[in-house]
């Protein structure tokens, strides 16, 4: 009667939210491509919605499959999974096929698989396994170094494939690191770098450098009596100045032209009003035209007719915003909030470090996708091509999120059995 016991231990709240999100995604994919003059069926396999149904079906099978695994499997094979997925990433660098300018697919019959999607949970497993050790503390430089190496390897490989969007997702793994005691100073430094970066984009170099000089002089004047602080202030000023200078270098020499445009059009949409900026403008028009209650299911006009780009994948939120208005959008935000907060709660109740770290990795990855995707469709963030979890059309993405979520639910169901390391 193992089955019954298991079904009692599964966190059904999370499963229900998952089901609601996937179902809503499917309906919106159908709506995004719906053409009233053709009136195609939602089950037509020539449409994205029809194909998504196949992906949903297979995802359900995968979810079931995960529950039939031994719960020790993830812990025991964490490094092996990591190794296999990393070699796949290496393999496609050499032999993968190119889709839309980035080389990240493995051909599999008629379908393409994107190993970088699966690298997310593989990396989460490896990180959890590595940190699940009494002597490893994140305040220790060595441990920090190895943890970052585990994260940076898949990141570097996906950047080399030309898929910067997916590569950035690995940064979400700082969430478990932060929870496990990474010194906050590191985070503060990283955030300050980011802030300076944005400032550099907004304000001209001369003004910014002059500003730094004035602030430095003021600080020096105020602290003239404590020589120790003077050294820190000067060192700080030099660091900030070099960051400002290097942003310019990164922008012009490191980023590819299409990435430059995306970053620059964030601070100034007029820089490319009919290219990248146009996409965001169309996206905002679609969402904005939804109003309070939306235009109704299948009644949207902007998301159809190709005004909004990628309307079934990265910009799927436009359809929700247009057809279901502010209320519909809030509902969707609510579902995601419920899911994320529930996952944090589940992660906290784990008895083993391994499960907890993996839980927070899941939170981090879903949260990152959710935040960046929504922020980009409503013009708060540059256009980075990453899907909205459970919603966007696409097999690799849906499978990867399903595996991620249900692996954690499986671990959670056995949390009482993992009091000690086996």
């Amino acid at each position: 009667m193992r089955q019954d016991q298991l079904s009692q231990k599964i966190d059904w709240l999370t499963v229900s939210v998952y089901g609601a999100l996937v179902l809503a995604g499917w309906l919106n994919i159908y709506a995004a491509e719906y053409d009233p003059d053709i009136n195609q069926s939602i089950f037509d396999f020539d449409t994205s919605a029809g194909r998504q149904l196949i992906w949903i079906g297979t995802s359900v099978l995968i979810a079931f499959g995960i529950f039939f695994f031994d719960y020790k499997f993830f812990d025991l094979s964490a490094y092996i999974i990591y190794g296999v997925v990393m070699s796949m990433l290496l393999f496609i660098l050499i032999g993968g096929k190119e889709v839309a300018g980035s080389k990240s697919w493995i051909g599999l019959g008629g379908f393409g698989l994107q190993p970088s999607e699966f690298a997310k949970f593989a990396t989460a497993f490896a990180l959890a396994k590595y940190l699940d050790h009494a002597t490893r503390k994140l305040t220790d430089l060595n441990t920090l170094g190895v943890s970052f190496a585990i994260i940076l390897l898949p990141m570097a490989l996906t950047v080399l494939q030309g898929d910067t969007g997916t590569a950035l997702v690995f940064a979400a793994l700082v969430v478990p690191l932060f929870r496990e005691g990474m010194p906050p100073l590191l985070l503060i430094v990283a955030l300050s770098f980011f802030a300076v970066f944005i400032l550099t984009l907004l304000v001209s170099q001369t003004v910014l450098l002059a500003g730094i000089a004035i602030v430095t002089l003021l600080a020096l004047g105020l602290n003239a009596r404590t020589p120790r602080r003077l050294v820190y202030i000067i060192a700080g000023a030099i660091v900030v100045t070099s960051v400002v200078r290097s942003v310019d270098f990164i922008l012009t020499d490191v980023l590819k032209p299409h990435q430059q445009k995306r970053v620059l059009s964030l601070v100034n949409p007029n820089i490319d009003p009919l290219g990248v900026g146009w996409n965001v403008t169309q996206s905002k028009i679609a969402i904005g035209s939804g109003g309070f209650a939306g235009k109704g299911f299948l009644e949207g006009t902007q998301t159809k007719f190709d005004f909004v780009p990628e309307q079934t994948t990265d910009f799927i939120f436009c359809t929700i915003g247009e057809e279901h208005g502010w209320i519909g959008s809030l509902l969707m935000l609510g579902l995601f909030t419920t899911l994320l907060l529930r996952l944090v709660y589940l992660a906290e109740r784990q008895k083993s470090t391994f499960s907890r770290i993996f839980g927070y990795s899941v939170v981090g990855i879903i949260f990152f996708h959710f935040t960046v995707n929504i922020a980009m469709t409503i013009g708060l963030f540059p256009v980075i091509g990453i899907p909205l979890p459970f919603f966007s059309y696409g097999g690799s993405s849906l499978w990867a999120f399903t595996i991620l979520l249900f692996s954690f639910l499986k671990l959670d169901a056995h949390r009482m059995q993992v009091l000690q390391r086996w």
Partner: protein, 607 residues
């Protein structure tokens, strides 16, 4: 660390609240977006440029653009009040009307699609008055390729709608379904230059997709830029003459200017009129040409493989002298016992061996090259010798692509050690197994272009320039051309060339002799196990100041001394002397017909 959990929860809530507020602003407070959605949506309308024009080396126009008109339909706006009248106007029946309507709706109800492609000038004139009665229909001007010649099809290629297969593989996202793209010949290899740059106009459209106004008075509109014009190296007159000579025959002729690598004529026979694949005719004529058993789409100069036959003896002579296994004057007595031979047995030196094309002489000197006695075992010795030989042969541009600027060039074959190991087993073969290589037969396969290039190498005494058909792009010289120098002393070329002079003066090529032309060359009678032998010739003229090198293959035409040398000699005369003084030779060539009635399939790769 539990307090950090609270921080993370806080961050999640904070983010969601920001989103909710931002959405509240966009969706409820700010009216701009609603107005924008209701009235104005900006639509991008692509404007197609003219493709680049193509000229020959003497600036005469080869390819230009002619206007044609497509009748377009936007199904959602289409209204046909009187179906019978409309059918009469267009000259189509009801069934076709409904079929076309269905197709257009299947594509899209709000986007325009072709209703009738390439309407006649007559209909276009009538429509201009009548179309106002049929909303949702309009006439879209477009251009198709037109040609000032019926020849050169295998060089110019053609233009057609981009295939869905190509679209799936294309990562540049430049092409959309229904766009036109160069498919064969220079239209393909110079597509990026010829296609020009698309322009776009931005129009304000309402939600039904009906155009209302220019977007911001056309501030963002860009004009299309015509494609770049291209000058070919081809001499159109020479090309047309060569194609005329090859009428009724299967084979190819390539002529190159040795000092520059410029291809003067590039004939694949049988061919077709390029106009047959232009515009609407493409879909009609393509299937027929494609299944024609004479394979007009095979670009023989770079895609047909033949054994070089006796032309290859020129290479053998130079390599043997370079290796030091024979000198120019050494007299070798042959008894005709080693290999089948048309030349009589007796004493030969290098010049005489080329002139008389002695198979036994070249059998013997190749044996000296391959079996130099560096190893006791004849099997290992042959391996070392053959490997060295192969490298030398490849220096002459054989067994590799020359990099001509036309699509789908093949490399031919210079058999490698591995190749023979597969056939006979490792260390199970020696010189006697591979001896037919010595006279250019066996597994050795070349393209006619490689042989014309060999003519250029001989004419230049040891170097060649990448053969090419495009001279200038928009006035700028073709950048993909390089000089390749062979590692042989120019002195070694002289006896070979003297032999080639004698071939035409007093040997197998005598039919091509003309005192004022000074043609030098070598004939080949290429053994063909599937039927009559192929006639081949490779050479250049004039001897002292080479202006043209030529290779000609005429399939199933028997000895090289007949059709091939005659074609080459006439072409060289026309190009170098600018006239034809031997009408009888021209008649001789024109009367010969070798279209494979008795040998049904032209042999391409089999031998």
């Amino acid at each position: 660390m539990r307090e950090r959990s609270l921080l993370i929860r806080g961050l999640i809530l904070f983010t969601v609240i920001i989103f909710a507020v931002r959405l509240f602003y966009i969706q409820i407070i700010d009216e701009d977006y609603k107005v924008a959605a209701e009235n104005n949506v900006v639509q991008k309308i692509v404007q197609y440029p003219f493709r680049g024009l193509v000229y020959d080396r003497n600036d005469s126009l080869v390819i230009y653009n002619s206007p044609v008109y497509d009748l377009m339909i936007v199904p959602k706006e289409a209204e046909i009040a009187d179906t019978t009248a409309f059918c009469d106007l267009l000259g189509i029946d009801r069934e076709m009307l409904e079929e076309n309507l269905r197709k257009a709706k299947g594509f899209s109800s709000i986007l325009a699609s072709k209703f009738i492609e390439q309407i006649s000038d007559d209909l276009f004139a009538k429509l201009q008055d009548q179309l106002i009665n049929y909303p949702g229909f309009y006439v879209l001007p477009r251009t198709i390729r037109s040609y000032n010649t019926q020849s050169l099809a295998n060089v110019v290629g053609y233009v057609g709608e981009v295939s869905s297969n190509f679209l799936n593989r294309d990562t540049t996202n430049y092409y959309k379904s229904g766009d036109y793209i160069g498919i064969g010949g220079i239209e393909k290899s110079y597509e990026e230059h010829l296609r020009g740059k698309r322009g776009s106009t931005f129009k304000v459209v309402n939600v039904q997709g009906i155009i209302k106004d220019d977007y911001r008075d056309g501030e963002y509109d860009t004009l299309p830029q015509s494609g770049e014009n291209i000058h070919l190296t081809i001499d159109l007159e020479l090309q047309q003459y060569a194609e005329k000579l090859m009428e009724g025959k299967v084979g190819s002729v390539v002529a190159i200017e040795p000092s520059t690598g410029q291809i003067l004529a590039f004939v694949s026979a049988p061919s077709y009129d390029p106009q047959l694949l232009s515009g609407k005719s493409l879909s009609k004529n393509f299937p027929e040409l494609n299944k024609d058993e004479n394979k007009p789409f095979l670009n023989r100069p770079i895609q047909a493989r033949y054994p070089p036959g006796s032309m290859f003896k020129t290479i053998q002579g130079i390599i043997a002298m370079h290796e030091g296994v024979v000198t120019v004057d050494e007299i070798i007595k042959t008894d005709g016992s080693n290999i089948g031979d048309l030349a009589p047995p007796g004493p030969y030196n290098m010049i005489k061996a080329i002139t008389k094309s002695s198979n036994n002489y070249f059998y013997l000197i190749m044996r000296r090259m391959v079996q130099q006695g560096v190893d006791e075992s004849p099997y290992i010795d042959s391996r070392i010798g053959l490997e060295k030989w192969r490298e030398y042969v490849m220096n002459f541009g054989l067994g590799r692509k020359l990099g001509v600027d036309l699509p789908n060039e093949i490399a031919g074959n210079v058999p490698s050690l591995e190749w023979y190991d597969r056939v006979y087993g490792a260390k199970r073969w020696k010189y006697s197994n591979i001896a037919s290589l010595s006279i250019g037969q066996g597994e050795l396969l070349v393209t006619p272009l490689q042989m014309a290039n060999l003519g250029a190498i001989l004419a230049n005494r040891g170097y060649f320039i990448t053969p090419h058909v495009v001279d200038k792009i928009e006035g700028w010289p073709n950048p993909n051309i390089k000089k390749e120098k062979l590692p042989f002393d120019p002195v070694l070329f002289e006896p070979i060339i003297q032999g080639m002079e004698q071939v035409v003066k007093a040997g197998s090529g005598i039919r091509g002799y003309l005192d004022s032309l000074k043609l030098a060359g070598k004939t080949s009678t290429v053994q063909n196990p599937h039927g009559e032998d192929h006639s081949g010739f490779m050479g250049f003229a004039p001897l002292d100041n080479p202006q043209i090198s030529i290779a000609a293959y005429v399939e199933n035409a028997g000895q090289g001394g007949r059709a091939a040398v005659s074609v080459a000699s006439l072409l060289a005369e026309k190009y170098v002397l600018g006239k034809i003084s031997r009408p009888w030779l021209e008649d001789y060539v024109l009367e010969e017909r070798y279209l494979p009635q008795n040998a049904p399939r032209p042999t391409i790769a089999e031998n």
